[in-house]
């Protein structure tokens, strides 16, 4: 391979660093209306009266929007395949506000200052209701968070709003109770994970205008432009054909832009007034009023026989979706489906639980969703079990984990929101990942710990799997066209959000067409001009959209060869093509691609050669990885220094090795953020206190000393040029690896994220007090 799996610069990095117009707000109109939202000061309240007469009188205020302005059409903000597996439980504006930061009303004016002024003049009278803030008491609580009648599910997801249940799920293979009763060793532990924030550096941004055809043209920093178009059309009853959504450069998404945010209000205002409108979330709104990762409680029971063979897993979860149920079910299912198959030799496995509403900031999609929570619980529990059995945790994994050509019955049972798809692991290099990782971290010399005067050094590890798109649901497509002068346009619906998909997809096309990346000009994510794609989520872009591009490139090549055969007056079978020249093998006659393209454009039998292809996955081949961390802990204060993180990844072929490494490095640091740094603090009244970057601390460049990321050789037959996915897998292992390293150092087990020094201190004090 010449282009794929070779060093290729990102195709856009130069222009972006030079500061060229690229991101959504760079395209806002000069004279634009601004939308600002009044946010609820109460965790739960009913709006009784809104007095906005003073605000409406202000010069420069265009409109004040309240729930009375909108037809009551419930929808979900989640950008997912349709019908969505998320409850339709949200209105553009509602008479109830369900968390501190929820939308009360919106003002539309000619400047930020006027909007702020207007907001300060509006008086709202509330009936303040008692909120449900503890997710462990939400189910069947007498306080009902969604009492309204119109809300509904699209198909059975276990939606029971009167019980504060957004969705629920249960499955069992074998008889877990029976298996556990036969086990020599059984451990049970409860884990808690926090509502991590995405902290993409570009806040949620959207702007709209009516174009010269009187259509609504929206620029949005979104991961799912086609879903945005559909949701707006349904929620505002604007014909789909009247809406165009363009996604410019996106300044980081990580799942946070997989749902609509300001789009509904901005679309409504522009459609109603015919004037350009924009909305940018303040950083506080990004924290408080978009959504976070689902906090979960996970009870994990593991049972093994006397030889250390894992026999049974019982995993019971409770997930907090906050005030609205975006991605409630799918995130939760991934906690089972992309975690538990790691140990596929069990006799029985059970996974069940509810996803409940509370009066907190909603939860939604976030890189590694469900998997990171489940991985923390499972991979911590495995080390706990090993300690009980006095068994080496690496050996335990080597015996019990998934291997190549094996499968797990879970794949057939669990999908995302629906049943799953059976599949065999054609590629699974976990054994090699572990072996390499042990060498790179120096496991044999360092496990479990090395003590010095004030410090302890230790190591910890975890293994993980992910998926590559959602089989039979996620669809990607690509159009390739040949231009005169022999270069190509590649149009894809796939959504570049900084992960490098434009570069990777260009490489796939260039490889198949035997050309260089500069001859393939990509344009992505414009609902008018590019073919459909579900968007950037579920680790689907390289695998699903990449396959679509690959297919399109192959088909275009065939068409070009047909033309060459016609011109060279021979049969198709006689044509050789090397990317630049077509040759008739029989006669040695040639025509260059440039000449061919010019001829069919301008002179003979003119035609446009263009192909559109789509791809739907029939399986979701999981990437695998082993993550190893080395830490140093202060013996007195338990401060943790993260010295080294080693990731050894099996993601099939790396289409672009540098970008793939970047995906893993970035995900590891984000995962370490969840593991150690990122504390989510709520006040007693339900207010999110860690709602700015002074109080919510993401890792800086001085906080993680060293990363080593390597890939093992692997080729997934069904992937484009052998690729699987790599966007999410990196985030899964850090929480468990870190908790395991702490346990290896100090013999204390921290079961709630993040694993902080203060928690270790308190746990050690508790243990000492008990003694």
């Amino acid at each position: 391979m010449k282009v794929v799996n070779n060093l290729t610069h990102s195709i856009d990095g130069m222009g972006i660093m030079k500061g060229r117009k690229a991101f959504t707000d760079d395209f806002a109109e000069k004279d634009t209306l601004i939308v600002k939202v009044m946010r609820s000061p109460y965790a739960y309240a009913k709006i009784l009266e809104i007095n906005d007469s003073e605000a409406r009188k202000l010069e420069g205020i265009e409109m004040v929007l309240t729930h009375k302005d909108f037809k009551r059409i419930p929808f979900t903000r989640a950008g997912q395949g349709y019908p969505e597996p998320s409850p339709h439980d949200k209105f553009v504006l509602d008479e109830y506000v369900r968390y501190i930061g929820d939308e009360v009303l919106a003002v539309v004016g000619r400047s930020d200052e006027i909007c702020d002024k207007a907001l300060s003049l509006i008086k709202v009278e509330y009936e303040v209701l008692e909120p449900v803030l503890d997710f462990e008491t939400a189910k069947d609580n007498p306080i009902v968070i969604h009492p309204e009648n119109e809300i509904h599910e699209m198909f059975d997801i276990g939606f029971q709003p009167k019980r504060n249940i957004a969705a629920s799920y249960a499955m069992e293979i074998g008889d877990v109770k029976k298996s556990l009763s036969e086990c020599e060793y059984v451990i049970k532990e409860t884990f808690y994970t926090q509502a991590q924030a995405h902290v993409m550096l570009e806040p949620h941004t959207v702007n709209a205008r009516m174009d010269y055809q009187n259509r609504l043209c929206i620029y949005s920093a979104t991961q799912t432009p086609f879903h945005v178009r559909r949701i707006i059309s349904q929620g505002l009853e604007i014909p789909l054909s009247k809406i165009r959504v363009i996604k410019p450069r996106v300044g980081g998404g990580f799942g946070g832009k997989q749902a609509i945010h300001g789009e509904m209000l901005v679309a409504y205002v522009t459609y109603k007034t015919n004037k350009p409108t924009k909305m940018i979330y303040s950083r506080k709104e990004v924290f408080e009023s978009s959504y976070s990762r689902h906090p979960m409680r996970i009870e994990m029971t593991l049972g093994a026989d006397k030889d250390g063979r894992l026999k049974a897993i019982n995993c019971e979860g409770l997930s907090d979706t906050g005030a609205y149920g975006e991605h409630a079910l799918t995130v939760f299912m991934v906690t089972g489906s992309k975690v538990l198959p790691l140990y596929n030799k069990v006799d029985s496995v059970r996974f069940a639980g509810d996803i409940v509403y509370t009066n907190h900031t909603p939860a939604g999609a976030f890189r590694g969703y469900g998997a990171i929570q489940g991985n923390f619980a499972l991979e911590s529990a495995v080390d706990i079990l090993c300690k009980k059995m006095k068994m080496d945790p690496i050996l335990f994994r080597q015996i019990n984990m998934m291997k190549e050509k094996e499968t797990s019955p879970i794949f057939a049972i669990m999908g995302e929101g629906t049943a799953g798809t059976a599949m065999i692991m054609e590629t699974c290099k976990l054994e090699e990942c572990i072996e390499k990782g042990m060498a790179l971290i120096g496991w044999k010399d360092k496990y479990p710990r090395i003590e010095s005067k004030d410090k302890i050094r230790s190591v910890g590890m975890a293994i993980a799997m992910q998926g590559s798109g959602i089989p039979y649901i996620d669809m990607g497509s690509a159009t390739i066209k040949l231009n005169d002068d022999g270069f190509y346009n590649l149009m894809v619906g796939a959504t570049e959000i900084g992960q490098g998909s434009d570069t990777v997809l260009t490489q796939i096309a260039a490889e198949e067409l035997m050309t260089t990346v500069d001859k393939v000009v990509i344009y992505s994510s414009d609902t008018d001009l590019t073919p459909f794609d579900v968007g950037a989520y579920a680790s689907s872009t390289t695998y699903i959209s990449g396959n679509a591009v690959w297919k399109a490139a192959k088909e275009l090549k065939e068409k070009m060869i047909v033309e060459a055969a016609r011109i060279l007056k021979t049969k198709v079978e006689n044509i050789d093509f090397d990317g630049k020249t077509f040759m008739n093998r029989a006669s040695n006659e040639k025509i260059t691609l440039v000449d061919l393209s010019n001829q069919i454009t301008y002179s003979h039998e003119q035609k446009q050669l263009q192909v559109t292809s789509s791809y739907v996955g029939h399986k979701s081949p999981p990437p695998f990885m082993a993550g190893f961390v080395e830490i140093e802990i202060d013996k007195a204060t338990y401060e943790i220094d993260i010295l080294h993180y080693v990731s050894v990844v099996d993601c099939g072929t790396t289409i672009n090795p540098m970008l793939a490494k970047g995906q893993v490095d970035g995900a590891i640091v984000q995962g370490l953020g969840m593991a150690h740094f990122e504390e989510v603090i709520y006040g007693a009244n339900g207010k999110l206190i860690s709602s700015d970057m002074l109080n919510y601390k993401i890792p800086t460049r001085l906080d993680i000393k060293k990363l080593t990321t390597v890939f093992v050789d692997s080729y997934e037959e069904t992937g484009p040029f052998g690729a699987k996915s790599v966007g999410e897998i990196g985030i899964d292992t850090p929480p468990a690896a870190l908790a395991n390293a702490v346990a290896n150092a100090l013999d204390v087990r921290i079961t709630t994220l993040p694993v902080t020094s203060e928690k270790i201190f308190k746990e050690i004090r508790r243990i000492n007090d008990e003694k």
Partner: protein
């Protein structure tokens, strides 16, 4: 009120409000490479150079910049191009939202301390957050750039 600024070598006069921050004035006047991340001095995305020193433009009142020299990436394009090539080579760019501000900070570091060690690079840039890359590739690219005498 009116202020006079020298932006990327060009004298400009703007009509501003006394409470306007430099970031807002720059974006309003189409210096779109300067972007907002946190709006509270915590992320570094809004960095510009004032008299060749990196500052958070979200927190500096425009009114205080009378007659100051302001530099955005457009003003040091040659250097930025060089740095961007190393970023490309080492896979250090992802979404790029942090990149113009990073480039300016690196350029200022080069003016101050051309022979900076990797530890000094990290210290100098710690105020430039990046949520995408995990930083490591950035450091490799920056070290190459600093070592490039061309």
């Amino acid at each position: 009120m009116k202020i006079n600024l020298k932006i990327n070598g060009q004298s400009r006069q703007f009509l501003i409000e006394p409470n306007e921050y430099l970031l807002d004035v720059l974006r309003k006047n189409d210096y779109l490479s300067v972007r907002r991340g946190c709006d509270n001095t915590s992320c570094g995305v809004c960095t510009v150079l004032i008299d060749n020193k990196p500052v958070p433009s979200c927190s500096v009142l425009a009114a205080r910049c009378e007659n100051k020299e302001i530099t955005t990436v457009e003003g040091v394009e040659k250097e930025v191009e060089k740095l961007a090539r190393y970023f490309g080579e080492l896979g250090a760019d992802q979404c790029g939202y942090c990149n113009p501000s990073m480039a300016l900070t690196v350029y200022a570091l080069k003016l101050e301390n051309k022979n900076a060690s990797i530890e000094e690079v990290k210290e100098y840039l710690v105020g430039n957050l990046c949520r995408c890359t995990g930083y490591i590739a950035q450091h490799e690219a920056i070290m190459k750039y600093l070592g490039d005498e061309s």
